[in-house]
Symmetry: C2
Subunit: 213 residues, 2 copies
């Protein structure tokens, strides 16, 4: 019984995700689902990204249990921003994204960023209708996270190692991360970035500007 | 239908949690459920705690999606350690803890630490049979996390602000965290610690040694 219900929920989500994707395709809006642990730097990355791409070309759907703090920051950066509060919900769903899309004017928008709830587990299992998925992993989280949260890292199209400016003060072995990724996901580019210093951000901007699959 | 099933799952969990607690009471083992985001320092805190309390007095149940890396570290610290791999599961359940308890020899043990899956959302909703709940929050995660992940911080008996050694290199406002906590949870002591330098750890050890409710 329990399993049947869970399967039905997932099937309903996937069908709606497909509708979202079709709608985004028609509007020619490339949509990227950003996933990570809490505090790995999703919002700061988006602030810098919006500045680089141009605010009028970007829209953001922000998922949080509570508070509108991230949405306020992104709105300040100039992008159309919709906050989705999930209450106790541990991930965004295709239904919530569909409702968010209703509120956006996608006319001039080329990029839609979905900032998922800060959680390395549950978001990985839910298709939202995005075109690409990106995982963030920050230096202070430690170099053992790829192997532990493999369902997330297996499912993504790009991986950003963030807060590289902290590498010098912390004991972190990037080769360990690369070795884990070599077993789980060899297709996704691995980019080492610091939103603070700007180091490595060019690679991320180029990935956004070039890759369209 | 969906809601009914979820309620049944939660009820079954709570009943089993109560059995776990009774068993732990009978064995006179004080049990503490540690919850936090990935990479906030649960395992390092436990290594130092086991060293301080004495390895023979401590046992640990470690929840992870995959890998036995944390369990290996804690076993090396000398404590009886059982790894629980949850696969894609985003939190530990009372059933998993009950199975873990079967494997432990609680005879000489005074403290059982349950290191939950790194996730600030889902673990908060599941009673495991613990006596006390502790949330960790690390400096690099940013000072906005209490308000965002309020269900966790509302539910705990103590809060540790970890990686205090990084305070000087990061822009972090402890007063903002305290102001958020003042709205959510005023009963839980708030301890500022660094497992790396040892600063503030005395308060945590004293809390463990003294408080028994």
């Amino acid at each position: 019984m329990k399993i049947r219900v869970v399967e039905n929920v997932l099937k309903a989500n996937d069908a709606l995700a497909q509708e979202n994707r079709q709608r985004l395709d028609e509007a020619a809006v490339r949509t990227i689902n950003l996933m990570s642990a809490p505090g790995s730097g999703k919002t700061t990355l988006l602030e810098k990204t919006i500045e680089q791409l141009g605010a009028e070309r970007c829209a953001v759907l922000v998922g949080d249990l509570q508070t509108t703090r991230d949405a306020e920051r992104l709105e300040k950066a100039g992008a159309q921003t919709i906050q989705i509060n999930t209450g106790k919900g541990c991930h965004l769903s295709a239904t919530e994204v569909a409702r968010g899309l209703e509120e956006l004017d996608l006319d001039k928008v080329e990029y839609l960023f979905i900032e998922n709830v800060g959680n390395m587990v549950c978001p990985a299992g839910f298709d939202l209708g995005e075109h690409q998925r990106v995982a963030l992993l920050s230096i202070p989280e430690g170099d053992d996270k790829v192997a532990k949260y493999w369902t997330l890292f297996q499912s993504v199209d790009a991986i950003l190692l963030t807060k590289m400016d902290l590498l010098e003060v912390l004991d972190y072995d990037i080769n360990r991360v690369k070795a884990d990724l070599a077993r789980i996901n060899t297709a996704a580019p691995f980019m080492e970035v610091s939103s603070k210093t700007g180091k490595g951000m060019e690679q991320w901007f180029n990935w956004l500007k070039n890759k369209q699959d």
